[in-house]
């Protein structure tokens, strides 16, 4: 995965709770055998009607949110199915940062493995940003090293992130390569347990 230290981007507010991975990417798009090209399908049933035409009433389709890369959402984002196609689709569409009061466990891991910065934030702060962002042209800068989010007026909000997750994102670590450095320990475990 690509390393990511900081990111500044246009904010898209999606004021819904419990956004499940079926909404992030519906099942009909899970049949591809590649990791790429899923961005066009993100939030598909919200963005498009039954005939494949853009739904004008869905904000992400509006011009002022074109190029958005910071997603604000309600609690329990990414619940449901374990499909990693969800973070693949979000990243491929252009979202690099997702800020929500809470994330579902499997989604959190999947997104982390793909270098998306997930930030847990107080709901009241998110509500405030959602209001600011509602008409577009609202930008947030995320500095992972300092664990700070800054708006255009220079207001700074601190966020928490487990230090291991932070290091992983900043260094773009490949977990498999890291684990294989401990291959002797895996072998020893297998011998000891006759696994």
């Amino acid at each position: 995965m690509e390393a990511i230290k900081e990111h500044k981007g246009l904010v898209f507010p999606l004021n819904r709770t419990n956004i499940d991975t079926d909404q992030i990417i519906p099942k009909q798009f899970l049949k591809r055998i590649e990791r790429t090209g899923f961005g066009q399908f993100v939030f598909y049933n919200w963005r498009f009607d039954d005939n494949g035409n853009k739904r004008e009433d869905f904000d992400l389709n509006k011009a002022q949110f074109a190029g958005a890369s910071v997603l604000l959402a309600g609690e329990n984002f990414g619940c449901g199915s374990s499909r990693e196609h969800a973070p693949w689709a979000l990243l491929d569409y252009g979202f690099k940062v997702i800020i929500a009061p809470s994330f579902a466990d499997i989604f959190y891991n999947n997104a982390l493995k793909n270098g998306i910065i997930l930030i847990k934030m107080e709901e009241s702060q998110i509500t405030e940003w959602m209001k600011e962002a509602e008409n577009g042209a609202f930008y947030l800068s995320v500095d992972l090293e300092k664990q700070e989010i800054q708006d255009d007026e220079g207001n700074i909000v601190h966020f928490d992130i487990p230090s291991y997750h932070k290091e992983k994102l900043i260094n773009g670590w490949d977990d498999i390569a890291l684990t294989l450095l401990n291959e002797d320990k895996i072998k020893a475990y297998e011998e000891a347990t006759q696994a």
């Binding site: 819904r16 199915s81 374990s82 684990t179 347990t193």
Partner: protein, 470 residues
């Protein structure tokens, strides 16, 4: 005496390969189950990095998500066919056992694991599917993973995981007559919400849990993820042991009795402490029907949809759910008419589920205009059911009797509910579009689904049995 421990801690400690402060533990995976949808990119990753599958002998594959449930000889959907062919090739290239679409062991991955005895107490089991929690019914630590993690397990037979917190879901008392495991888990999620288990592994405890059949326990553990927990399990007991005795992949003879002792010793110790405990009274649980677009939006059959005035938080989401579902606020559940019935999925497609539904449907007819299908969880479940004549019971009533697969639970194959259609479904998710774009899903038990098929609307199956509906 050493400190009392939960089954979760006991399994975890036995599987730590490597521990370093400030980092997740590296834990060993005893059983890796794979299927066609979430594995292709993992194998691609192995090839790109010139890596092998470390333990093909601990890996088992089947095809379930995409497979047609009728006229299997021709898979018309070319992309589905390609995905299945890719799995076949990957299994051949890397030496992994595969129960493909025509294999007698084929079935929904969470049905065949226990059926074959691959699922055993104390094992760590993973699969690229969130309903892997099902295997927790046997006292295994089983959870869903993403494709990157599938690749990690293929390459290393381990996973980096933070040690989970423990959550005791204590079910007090016993379920009333005619109330099922499905009603219990739906009531638990309705009471505590869709994220009370986030960051935890759940253990279900109490009299009602001990009294459930293994099939019932699988139904409960299956839906742990709908409460936010990646894994939910139940301490092994004699029922667990007896279910597994004689299964293909468990030891035989004396060796089985030996391993069974180890299994029983895994049960949570008296006095063990959990990070959190929630309590539900089983006696208060009624047959459940979901009305909304997540599994916590669920009420007893005697209930109604919520009134918006009574909703304190996230009112907009509730309003949107009612709109999507085409329901009014405060609408009685018994007034909701359905046009589809699906009996199947990793939640409710085992032999006992089909027997329970058949008991309701026997000698009755599916109401005109309703499309009703039964999709057994595995090829073996199908054969056993046919031996018992259940296929004929369902066919006589007007159900279709299909081949096994995930089918209408997520509609990746042709089994979808059309836009605006309304389905009484024994599956696990009522998300928008889950069973088909614009489809409306109501989660229920197999018994409740069968009764709804006859009446064309939701009814209390307990009254249905007695012949007095309202």
């Amino acid at each position: 005496m050493s400190k009392p421990k939960t089954v979760i801690e006991k399994i975890w400690e036995k599987h730590v390969v490597y521990q370093e402060s400030g980092k997740p533990d590296l834990i060993y995976i005893d059983q890796h189950l794979i299927h066609e949808v979430t594995s292709p990119q993992a194998f691609e990753g192995l090839r790109l990095n010139n890596r092998k599958v470390r333990r093909p002998d601990l890996t088992f594959a089947t095809m379930d998500h995409n497979v047609p449930t009728k006229d299997r000889d021709v898979v018309k959907d070319e992309i589905s066919r390609k995905q299945m062919e890719t799995l076949r090739k990957n299994c051949e290239d890397f030496g992994i056992k595969l129960a493909d679409m025509f294999h007698p062991d084929q079935g929904i991955v969470h049905v065949i694991g226990p059926q074959l005895g691959l699922t055993q107490p104390g094992k760590t089991i993973v699969c690229g599917d969130s309903h892997t929690s099902t295997h927790g019914a046997f006292g295994a630590l089983a959870f869903g993973i993403g494709t990157s993690e599938v690749e990690h397990v293929l390459a290393t037979q381990t996973l980096m995981q933070e040690k989970p917190k423990t959550l005791n879901v204590y079910v007090k008392g016993d379920l009333g007559p005619g109330v099922t495991a499905k009603d219990l888990i739906l009531a638990i999620i309705a009471k505590f919400g869709v994220k009370f288990g986030t960051g935890y592994v759940m253990e279900y405890t109490g009299e009602a849990i001990r009294n459930l059949s293994m099939e019932g326990r699988m139904t409960v553990c299956n839906m742990s993820i709908e409460g936010g927990a990646r894994a939910g399990l139940i301490s092994p007991d004699e029922k667990t042991v007896e279910f597994l005795r004689g299964r293909e992949y468990v030891p035989k003879g004396d060796a089985f009795d030996e391993i069974a002792k180890d299994w029983l010793a895994l049960a949570t110790d008296e006095g063990a402490v959990y990070d959190k405990t929630v309590v539900i009274n089983a006696e208060e649980v009624e047959p459940q029907v979901s009305w909304g677009t997540n599994p916590s939006m669920c009420v007893p059959i005697s209930g109604t949809t919520p009134s918006l005035e009574s909703v304190k938080e996230h009112k907009e989401d509730v309003k949107r759910a009612l709109e999507y579902m085409g329901l009014e606020e405060s609408q009685p559940i018994t007034s909701i008419e359905i046009d589809h019935v699906f009996i199947g999925s990793c939640t409710n497609s085992r032999l006992r589920d089909l027997q329970n539904a058949a008991e309701i449907i026997k000698g009755r007819k599916v109401k005109d205009g309703i499309k009703a299908i039964v999709v057994p969880g595995s090829f073996s479940v199908k054969l056993e059911a046919e031996k018992l004549g259940l296929d004929q019971v369902f066919l006589d009533a007007g159900f279709e009797w299909r081949d096994s697969g995930c089918s209408m639970c997520l509609g990746m194959n042709d089994d979808i509910v059309p836009a605006g259609g309304r389905c009484a479904s024994t599956s696990n998710r009522n998300f928008e579009g889950r069973q088909g774009n614009g489809a409306r899903t109501h989660l229920v038990s197999p018994e409740m689904a069968a009764a709804a098929a006859v009446e064309g609307r939701f009814v209390d199956v307990r009254k249905f049995k007695s012949g007095v509906l309202n």
